[in-house]
Structures are given as structure tokens and as C-alpha cells.
């Protein structure tokens, strides 16, 4: 095998490993944490191995210094990956949701996701999303250009907006039942009106 064949083969295998790792990392918070941890361990082990080579054999050379820098970069990116994975896992709202997507949905897809998470609750035809943050859901669902104050001035902090694709959404930080609420109206594919309560879990 020539030097160029050897370099090409390693570049190809590195690309495949990187691609697979990226895919795993992008799929879910736990993927990012696993890949990040792997990066830190491999980089750390190679850093120690390179130091040993420098002490016993080569001394400081351009090659070993480059290898050390690559190891440091690998460890840093691995650490960032772990942090991002933990952040994404915490943002998913549950200790059990290690497999929820990292990239949050927005607009109509977010409404569909919130609706799927909701369950029948207290109140006539009211759905509940226990433990979730109503305001965060509102901002994920509403068209950012359309957001304004709630029409009722007695609801400070209340918001209204438009759902991309049709319909309106309202956020009320408090209601008569003490639960924050989201109201949606005239959203295609949904009944004319649905109320979601967000009680504590």
C-alpha cells in the first residue's frame, strides 16, 4: 500500500465513522451524549499514548504536536457534545425522554406534538399537558411575526398569535382553575376550539 492509498483509506474510514457518529448524535440526546463521551475517551487515551511516544521515541515533532492538538480538539468537542446532549435531555421535560428529538418542532408540527402529548383532563372537553411549560409551547407554535398581547387586559403576560397554516392561539398564564392555558381556535384539522391546561405534574 502506498502512502497515498494509506491516507485515502484512513480518510474514508474516518469519514464513515464521523458520519455514523453524527447520525447517532443527531437522532436523540442520548446519541449526542454517547458520541461525546466516546470522543473524550478516545482523545484522552490518544493524548496519553502520544505523550508516551514523545517521551520514549520521537521527542517533540510537528507530527506529535499536531496529534496532541487534534486530541485536545476531540476532547473539547466531545465535552461540548455531552453538555448539549444533557441540555437537550433536560429540555425534553422528562427523565425518561432520552430518545426525543433534539431539534424542537415549531408551528403546526409543534401544535401536533403538544396535542399528542395532551390527555383528557378536568373540565368539559379540556385537555391537559401536565408538567409542561405553556408559554414555551405558545412560542413554539405561534408565528413569531404575529405574536401580540392577549386581548383581555386583565391577563397580564397573556399572549395571542396566529398558527402557521391557519387558526389562532392564545396563551393565558393563569385561569380560574389556576392552570396556565393555551386556547386554539379555527385551526384546520382540529375542532373549532380546544383548551389545553398545563397543571403541575
Amino acid at each position: 500500500m502506498t502512502r497515498w492509498e494509506w491516507t485515502g483509506a484512513h480518510a474514508l474510514s474516518g469519514g464513515i465513522i464521523g458520519g455514523v457518529a453524527g447520525g447517532i448524535a443527531a437522532a436523540a440526546p442520548i446519541g449526542l451524549i454517547v458520541v461525546g463521551t466516546g470522543g473524550v475517551i478516545v482523545s484522552g487515551a490518544d493524548f496519553i499514548h502520544t505523550i508516551n511516544i514523545m517521551k520514549a521515541e520521537t521527542g517533540i515533532t510537528a507530527c506529535t504536536v499536531t496529534r496532541l492538538l487534534v486530541d485536545v480538539a476531540g476532547a473539547v468537542f466531545g465535552g461540548v457534545g455531552i453538555a448539549k446532549g444533557v441540555q437537550a435531555w433536560r429540555a425534553s421535560g422528562s427523565g425518561l425522554r432520552w430518545l426525543s428529538p433534539i431539534v424542537p418542532t415549531t408551528g403546526r408540527a409543534a401544535l401536533n406534538e403538544m396535542h399528542a402529548k395532551s390527555e383528557p383532563g378536568s373540565g368539559w372537553d379540556v385537555r391537559e399537558v401536565p408538567g409542561a411549560n405553556a408559554e414555551k409551547w405558545f412560542y413554539r407554535i405561534a408565528d413569531p411575526q404575529s405574536v401580540g398581547p392577549h386581548p383581555n387586559p386583565n391577563i397580564p403576560g397573556g399572549l395571542k398569535g396566529k398558527v402557521p397554516g391557519g387558526g389562532e392561539i392564545f396563551y393565558r398564564p393563569f385561569t380560574g382553575s389556576e392552570n396556565p392555558a393555551i386556547d386554539i381556535s379555527n385551526v384546520p384539522g382540529y375542532t373549532n376550539y380546544i383548551k389545553y391546561h398545563f397543571p403541575p405534574r
Binding site: 378536568s122 368539559w124 386581548p151 383581555n152 387586559p153 391577563i155 380560574g176 382553575s177 386556547d183 397543571p199
Partner: protein, 199 residues
């Protein structure tokens, strides 16, 4: 559907509103003394929808009223209003006006000061006035008793889970049904402790 400014409301609609309502909400005693009989409607979301829509529209036709007024109960100062808060809804649009009041407690009321409906933000409404309207609603909605029991169930649950103050229920019920029937309903719902003030 026609919308009105606050100035137009004060000039033309407010005297009618005040002939029906005391200015309160669905959480207290909103009707003037002469607005009788009364009924609590549960499963009422902001605007006229089934099963309430049909008996209301039918009654208005029988009363010869061509539409009704709708007013949001809580409004910014007139100079700060950026949208309408009062409307006249012709009967032909009774099934489709709802989007303008979603998420806002509001009153639906007779142009002839005969009747009114006031809705809460938690799925109940109170109707008062026009014997014909109340009778038509009773006849059209066969599960009113079940709905009332669900109303109590929901508020007991809110009280248990969120420590919500529900002491407004007895005076509101008394305003709607009279003190005797209100006490009876509270006993049936195992909420008679509200009458004595201690749980």
C-alpha cells in the same frame, strides 16, 4: 356581523347591557333581579356552539329577534383598544362568529333586554331571562343534570389539585337556582362544607 367602538357601545348598547346584567361575571351574581329564570350551562366554550346554539337561535326566531349583541367583559381603555370588543351578530352568523371572542369572557345578550348569557373562562356560562329561552334549552339539552355534576367534579378537582378558592360557588348557585336548590345541589355534590365555610 357588525362591530362597535366603545363609544358606540356606551351610547347604544350599554343601557341594554345594564338592564340585563349587574356588571358581574359568571363567577358571581351577574343578572339584574328581574332577569328570571336562570340556568347554569356547563360545557360552554366562549361562544354559541352545540348543544346551545340550536335552542338559542330557535328561541330568538320565536321572540322575533334578528340577532344578538356580544360584548367582551374585560376591555382595555377606549384609547388603548386596537380591536373591536362589541358586536351585533345576525342570526345567520350565529354559528360562525365565535372566533372573535375565543379566550375572552363575554356576554351574549338580547337586543330587547329580554335575556342574557355570560360565560366564564372555565367552560361554564349562566343564562338568565326569557322563560322561553330557558325552557327551550332545558328541552334541547337532555343531559343538563350530568353537565352540572361534571361542573362540580371539575371544580372539586381544581380545588384538590391547585388549592383553588371555590367559595364563589354557593352565592353563584344561589343567584341562579335560589338558596334552597343551591344548598341541595351542593349537598348532592358533597360540597355542603362550602355552606359552613369549613372543609
Amino acid at each position: 356581523m357588525e362591530s362597535y367602538t366603545e363609544i358606540e357601545f356606551r351610547k347604544n348598547m350599554d343601557p341594554i347591557f345594564r338592564a340585563i346584567f349587574t356588571g358581574g361575571s359568571a363567577y358571581d351574581a351577574p343578572f339584574q333581579p328581574g332577569i328570571q329564570p336562570r340556568l347554569l350551562l356547563y360545557g360552554f366554550h366562549w361562544y354559541l356552539h352545540e348543544p346551545w346554539l340550536e335552542p338559542v337561535v330557535r328561541t330568538l326566531k320565536e321572540l322575533g329577534e334578528e340577532g344578538f349583541y356580544v360584548s367582551a367583559l374585560y376591555r382595555p381603555k377606549p384609547e388603548e383598544q386596537t380591536q373591536p370588543y362589541h358586536w351585533f351578530v345576525p342570526l345567520s352568523e350565529a354559528a360562525s362568529y365565535g372566533a372573535v371572542v375565543v379566550s375572552q369572557e363575554n356576554a351574549i345578550y338580547s337586543v330587547n333586554s329580554q335575556w342574557g348569557i355570560i360565560c366564564s373562562d372555565e367552560d361554564h356560562a349562566l343564562v338568565g331571562g326569557s322563560e322561553l329561552l330557558v325552557e327551550n334549552i332545558k328541552n334541547a339539552v337532555g343531559d343538563l343534570d350530568y353537565r352540572l355534576s361534571e361542573f362540580f367534579k371539575a371544580w372539586k378537582d381544581y380545588h384538590r389539585r391547585n388549592k383553588v378558592d371555590i367559595t364563589w360557588i354557593p352565592p353563584m348557585l344561589s343567584h341562579v337556582y335560589g338558596p334552597e336548590k343551591a344548598a341541595q345541589l351542593l349537598r348532592q355534590a358533597q360540597l355542603d362544607w362550602l355552606l359552613h365555610g369549613e372543609e
